[in-house]
């Protein structure tokens, strides 16, 4: 539309589109470079030649050099365990905050919000001691436990539940449903977009999480892929960039593929998660 002051016309418009494309290219450049290195033989890793042969050899070598299959399994178990626990705990807590009156509710909510600011990421020293006392160091539950009660999830779901008309709630009760049945039959189905948003954000957060898993794990049977990648690339592979970038892309692949396939849902979920 010619009236809209959102884009200039003529030369200005071309110039601006061009700058946008240059920035977009710069943004994706490190990734393109990684793809180039990972899919070509090492002698081409720093030399851009059009006739360079494509190869999967780097991926094979990376896969053989470290127990990546196990790391993937660990990450998968971690992400699933955390998400399952979060969904249950946050749903129950959000329901309480949205639809119940009880003494201390406001204070309790404030105490939940504390975690939005002070995330488990910065409490590594104390949480490590707690895990040691519980005797579960170097296990997958130890990585996930501090994150299972997510303030963010409670907050997001509470906001969603509050928008659901009480009439639906009451109608279900008239038909004889108890509180938990109402939650399951009315609130959870109507909260689906919020669950999707929270799920995507949670899965990408915990697949990517590094510092806490690095501290709390110590063996192949509990390390997630991020820590596995670090152990692998800082080990004796030291300078073989072709193999390291291949391993790097491998560990990012599930999220990258998921993102490319469900771009819309990803973007909308992150948007939704932000407007709170």
């Amino acid at each position: 539309m010619t009236l809209s002051p959102t884009l200039p016309q003529g030369g200005g418009r071309i110039l601006e589109t061009l700058s946008a494309w240059v920035l977009g290219f710069l943004w994706i450049l490190p990734l393109l470079y990684a793809f180039w290195t990972a899919f070509h033989p090492p002698e081409f890793s720093t030399r851009l030649a059009l006739d360079a042969p494509l190869t999967l050899e780097n991926f094979r070598r990376a896969w053989d050099a470290a127990p990546f299959a196990r790391y993937f399994l660990n990450s998968f178990m971690l992400v699933t365990m955390v998400l399952a626990a979060q969904l249950v705990l946050c749903t129950l807590a959000a329901y309480a905050f949205a639809r119940y009156e009880f003494p201390g509710k406001d204070l309790a909510f404030l105490l939940v919000l504390v975690q939005l600011m002070i995330m488990p990421d910065v409490l590594i020293v104390e949480n490590y001691r707690t895990m040691a006392r519980l005797g579960i160091l170097d296990s997958i539950p130890a990585i996930g436990l501090p994150y299972m009660a997510s303030a963010f999830g409670i907050f997001l779901l509470r906001q969603t539940f509050k928008t659901i008309p009480r009439e639906l709630d009451e109608a279900a009760r008239v038909e004889g449903a108890n509180s938990l049945q109402v939650l399951w039959k009315v609130y959870v189905p109507l909260g689906r977009p919020a669950y999707l948003a929270f799920g995507l954000v949670s899965v990408s957060y915990h697949w990517n999480n590094f510092l806490w898993p690095l501290i709390v794990t110590n063996s192949v049977t509990s390390r997630p892929v991020t820590v596995g990648l670090q152990v692998f690339s800082s080990g004796d592979q030291g300078i073989d960039w072709s193999v390291i970038t291949a391993a790097t892309l491998m560990t990012s692949a599930p999220l990258l593929l998921g993102f490319l396939l469900f771009q819309r849902q990803f973007v909308q979920s992150f948007m939704r998660a932000g407007i709170r």
């Binding site: 539309m1 009236l3 809209s4 002051p5 959102t6 884009l7 601006e16 946008a20 494309w21 290219f25 943004w27 994706i28 490190p30 990734l31 470079y33 890793s45 129950l92 807590a93 329901y95 309480a96 119940y100 009880f102 105490l111 939940v112 975690q115 600011m117 002070i118 995330m119 990421d121 910065v122 409490l123 020293v125 104390e126 949480n127 490590y128 707690t130 436990l145 501090p146 009660a149 509180s179 990408s204 697949w207 590094f210 510092l211 690095l214 501290i215 991020t226 990648l229 670090q230 960039w241 390291i244 970038t245 790097t248 892309l249 990012s252 990258l256 998921g258 993102f259 973007v267 992150f270």
Partner: protein, 289 residues
């Protein structure tokens, strides 16, 4: 207590117990431990008063990490926010290829920081890295970008900007899409220039988003040190040591938990300050709408 109250608390209980165990208790524990020496094999840690804090004041690496963190904030936050706004305006406009652009800007956000740090490490590698090849082709003398104290912090700052700008873009995009198109039409009818429309209409409407993004950006710059561990390990000569990285080194390389707790207290104090500021500005809009 009424039935409703009991049910409410029962629903809340599992989450509350975990939050107490892994957020509230550790916060109090951190403060408690910061007044105690590191416990030795089975014996209780002796009370040392402010000793850990005295050590901190004399600890050059602490001060270096703190100033680094401030520079890191100052470098990361304004640039990534400005870029995020520009990106969002572009992606939200009728520009050719905006879907691809959105993807290009947002992709770094979904990738693990540790993975992208590896890619950037390669990018900055002396002689072989892409950066050196470009600067070499332009005749600029070779240098070790990550290995020199003058440039290392700038390098990790760039990585953080690259990782975060696309993330913040999403929030601005959401905000831009909620601005009624009638405002743009009215501005156009009044003959307002694009710059004027942005400055007087769009930017003020983006203000709540900017505050939200700002708070997140500050928290992230104190929370995320994955790339430091991969790219520089705090070096060279502590040039890229950030506060949380220092906590990590003291706590898990030197195993000095008493001092690490004192350092964490500083971190908590900073985060608490941000929380207070946020509540001052945003309480109504963000939390109790």
């Amino acid at each position: 207590m009424s039935r409703q109250a009991i049910h409410g608390w029962l629903l809340l209980l599992p989450a509350a117990a975990l939050l107490a165990l892994f957020t509230h208790w550790p916060v109090l524990g951190t403060i408690w431990d910061s007044f105690h020496a590191t416990s030795k094999a089975g014996r209780a840690a002796p009370f040392v008063g402010l000793e850990n804090y005295r050590v901190m004041v004399a600890d050059e690496v602490f001060w270096k990490s703190l100033t680094n963190n401030l520079w890191y904030c100052l470098g990361t936050i304004p640039i990534s926010i400005a870029l995020a706004i520009v990106m969002a305006l572009w992606v939200n406009s009728a520009m050719r290829g905006r879907t691809l652009l959105r993807m290009a800007f947002f992709t770094p956000t979904v990738l693990p920081m540790i993975a992208v740090a590896n890619i950037w490490l390669f990018f900055f590698t002396p002689q072989y890295g892409l950066l050196e090849q470009v600067t070499g082709a332009m005749g600029i003398a070779s240098r070790n970008w990550l290995g020199s104290p003058d440039t290392a912090l700038a390098c990790v700052t760039i990585v953080a900007i690259w990782k975060e700008a696309g993330f913040f873009m999403i929030f601005y995009l959401a905000a831009l899409q909620s601005i009624p198109p009638s405002l743009a039409e009215a501005a156009a009818l009044e003959g307002a220039s694009r710059a004027y429309y942005f400055r007087r209409v769009v930017f003020p409407l983006l203000m709540p988003t900017t505050l939200f993004v700002l708070v997140n950006a500050v928290i992230n710059s104190f929370r995320l040190v994955d790339h430091i561990i991969v790219m520089t390990k705090g070096g060279p000569n502590n040039a890229t040591s950030l506060l949380l990285f220092h906590v990590y080194t003291v706590g898990f390389s030197f195993w000095d938990t008493g001092y690490a707790a004192a350092l964490t207290v500083v971190l908590l104090a900073i985060l608490a300050t941000i929380a207070v500021v946020q509540f001052g500005f945003l309480e109504k809009r963000v939390h109790y709408q």
